[in-house]
Amino acid sequence: MTEEKIKQHTRQVLKSFSKKKGNLIPILQRVQGRLGYLPREAMLEVAEFLGLPPIHVYGVVTFYNQFRLNPPGKHSVRVCLGTACHMKGGYITLDAWKRRLSIGAGETTTDREFDLDTVACVGCCVMAPVTVLDEKPMGKVDPTKVDGLLLAFEREREGKKKQ
């Protein structure tokens, strides 16, 4: 995305907010919802709008786990490491994702297909271990299921190519 595009999108979001500091986090959430992450230009734009020093905006962005500084992959993989999931082998599942995608938690594959991260409890502890795939919580994900899920994505991609 070009700098200009980023600025445009950010300004679009800013239109629906008043210039109150309390709006900082909702604004950042909305911008990230649109762009998928918070690029430097967007943060600068937000800082200027609210009349805050850019370092304040950067400080807030890096404080909260939800915000990301780099573009996400096409599919997001969030492995739950809440108590229930951890104790039922969530850490083994995370290992499996890391091995199969060849990336660590917090990283994106080089083809930008997947990004991998952890999350602390999505409220489906009864289905532990949980992996949230593209916003959808999947229950009982063990290494074998990881392989199955990846296979399904591959099929889908091949299917699209054929079309």
Partner: protein, 638 residues
């Protein structure tokens, strides 16, 4: 309040109520079958949306007079997706583990025919001669549902269903009382905050009411940061209006004009349901200006948390509402005196607020009659981990842990042995078998070293390592520490390093004492509740399970066979059924190969301990075992 205001309330509410009741009756029109599908997040994860669609498709295919509606979570999460079918002439029947195929069968056989398909039944909702009812389950004798009563029985996206079931009645009643009287009622009920600390709610409201400064604020804390708890999520997803009603009453009592619901970003469905609920309440004049024609005005905004555990702490939560990084502040002043934007602010947990309407409706004495002397009312727990009936439970305070785990939760699955119960998440502790007869209330749990916390209850069995769970929680709090104060920032870091060493077999005996020393220091020296309680998981495991620490340190052995660095997977040659290849195919890294006699052997160098082979090996052979310390594996000749 002016008298005209008061007089307007009754007819205004009456009108809403009549409307809602007509709507509710219309739904249950005689002769019609109603199917409810639980589509809270737990249900959705189990496939409830597909089940919902299957019901809708089949009903329209057969062209039946049958309504299919979505409801929240009944608390029987272990049996999701859950469906209730209410057919005239039958008791309402609850089905568990429903999938789209079963859904199709139920419509064909039961809705269109007259076979209630007993093989899928969980239980009936009321007593009858045909099917055992849920109220006859042993667990029902211990449960007492106040705030979970609506959950799973009404459509959370339909305000009229809430009103028809007694909703907003308490608001109407409160608006006709003087605010002081409302506070007095809550005070006399003995209600204590369910967010963790157990502060008396009425007293908090009174302080806020009596503090100078305008406008005042009311905040609902739905951050639910405990990484093993889901009560607040479930209540918001299943019965959001009960939370709004509690907020409205609290605001009326304290004189607040603006409210915020602070919901975790990880709960997208809860966020959506709150948005819908706010819109509907506004439309009916239950929120906004001059509510129900009175001169009380109050508005609520939704605020999404951004994934920081410490933001559950009230002063950090306020900082984040103000557009700051969520770092806690020293108290006093307490938020009730100087909170959001420096104004008097009440912060209450979701459950605390949900109790309020019941107290106003039934009176302080009624509420005070439930539970124990120091802890009135009920306790809501999210049961998870190694327990048969995972899900939500609500029991009177004073119920013992044993009753909750073994009677309500039906004990430990797979014939395993109970080891510990973790209560209160990262701020709580692990209690052993010997503590199971403790009554659940704010004070006895604290004495045992745990904490009521928010209500997460994770049951651990013989396969769970107590050092690892302590390490897990310290890793969590260490990462979530905001870094403001030294004890918490550095102390948790040092504790984590020691615990990591121990779980990797690099620990020394003096480390255990050092750990104890550090834990006590961090507890005493930290600024906010995060640091003050972070050592609890360490202190309780040291207190009750010191032998496990010692086994790791002295022998490099993990007694529960959990710590990856201290175990090895091994295939018992005499048990391996040589013609079976299950483990070979499932191994993630091709570490298993057959030897000359086709007995499978694991290459220990390659093994990543993914557990696949152990799961894959057919039960009748059971040839794969874990050994600790890893040196126990006999060296094999290739």
């Amino acid at each position: 309040m002016t008298t005209t205001g008061v007089q307007a309330i009754i007819p205004a509410f009456q009108e809403l109520k009549v409307c809602a009741e007509a709507h509710w009756k219309g739904l249950w029109k005689s002769g019609r079958t109603v199917i409810t599908v639980g589509t809270a997040a737990c249900g959705q994860a189990a496939g409830a949306l597909e089940v919902l669609q299957a019901f809708r498709d089949e009903v329209s295919k057969l062209n039946l007079d049958c309504r299919v509606i979505e409801v929240g979570c009944m608390g029987h999460c272990y049996a999701e997706p859950i469906v209730i079918i209410s057919k005239p002439g039958y008791p309402a029947i609850c089905y568990g583990h429903v999938n789209p195929v079963i859904a199709g069968t139920l419509v064909k056989e039961f809705v269109a025919g007259d076979n209630p398909c007993l093989e899928f039944v969980l239980g009936a909702l009321e007593k009858n001669d045909l099917i055992p009812s849920l109220s006859e389950f042993p667990r029902a004798q211990y449960e007492k549902k106040l705030i979970l009563k609506n959950c799973g029985h009404i459509d959370p996206t339909d305000i009229e269903q809430y009103i028809a079931n007694g909703g907003y009645l308490a608001l109407e009643k409160a608006l006709r009382m003087r605010p002081e009287k409302v506070i007095d009622e809550v005070k006399r009920s003995g209600l204590r905050g369910r967010g963790g600390a157990g502060f008396p709610t009425g007293q908090k409201w009174e302080i806020c009411r009596n503090s100078a400064g305008k406008p005042k604020y009311a905040i609902c804390n739905a951050d639910e940061g405990d990484p093993g708890a889901f009560m607040d999520r479930s209540i918001i997803e299943s019965d959001p209006h009960s939370v709004l009603e509690g907020m409205l009453i609290s605001a009326y009592a304290t004189g607040a004009r603006q409210g915020y619901i602070y919901v975790r970003a990880e709960y997208p469905l809860a966020v959506e349901r709150v948005q819908i609920a706010l819109r509907q309440a506004k439309k009916l004049g239950l929120l906004g200006r001059e509510i129900l024609g009175s001169n009380f005005s109050f508005d609520i905004k939704l605020f999404q948390g951004s994934g920081a555990f410490v933001c559950g702490e009230e002063t950090a939560l306020i900082a984040s509402l103000e557009g700051e990084a969520g770092t806690p502040h020293v108290r006093p002043p307490y938020p009730a005196v100087s909170g959001l934007f420096g104004k008097p602010t009440t912060i209450n947990n979701v459950k605390t607020l949900t109790y309020v309407r019941h107290i106003i409706n039934n009176g302080a004495e009624w509420f005070a009659g439930i539970g124990t002397k120091g802890s009135r009312g009920t306790a809501v727990f999210a049961l998870a981990g190694k327990i048969v009936n995972t899900g939500l439970v609500e029991v009177p305070m004073g119920t013992t842990l044993r009753q909750v785990i073994f009677e309500v939760g039906s004990g430990i699955p797979n014939g395993k042995k109970f080891k510990a119960v973790q209560i209160g998440g990262p701020s709580g502790g692990c209690l052993p078998e010997s503590a199971l007869d403790l009554p659940i209330d704010f004070d006895s749990l604290k004495k045992a070293g745990a904490m009521m916390g928010s209500g997460g209850m994770v049951v651990l069995d013989e396969d769970d390592c107590m050092v690892e769970i302590a390490r897990y929680f310290v890793e969590f709090t260490q990462r979530e520490s905001c870094g403001k104060c030294t004890y918490c920032r550095l102390g948790t870091k040092q504790m984590l390093e020691i615990l990591t060493d121990i779980t990797k077999g690099r620990g020394k005996l003096e480390d255990i004492d050092m750990l104890q020393h550090l834990a006590e220091g961090v507890k005493a020296g930290s600024l906010c509740g995060l640091g003050k309680t972070a050592p609890n998981p360490v202190l309780t495991t040291l207190r009750y399970f010191r032998n496990e620490y010692e086994a790791h340190v002295r022998e490099g052995r993990c007694p529960s066979l959990m710590c990856p660095d201290l175990i090895a997977y091994y295939i018992l040659p005499h048990k391996c059924e040589r013609s079976c290849d299950a483990c070979v195919g499932t191994c993630s890294v091709e570490a298993i190969s057959p030897d000359k006699k086709r007995i499978k052997v694991i290459d220990q160098e390659k093994c990543v301990k993914c557990n696949n082979c152990l799961v894959a090996c057919p039960l009748q052979y059971n040839a794969v075992v874990k050994l600790s310390p890893p040196g126990k594996v006999p060296t094999s000749k290739k």
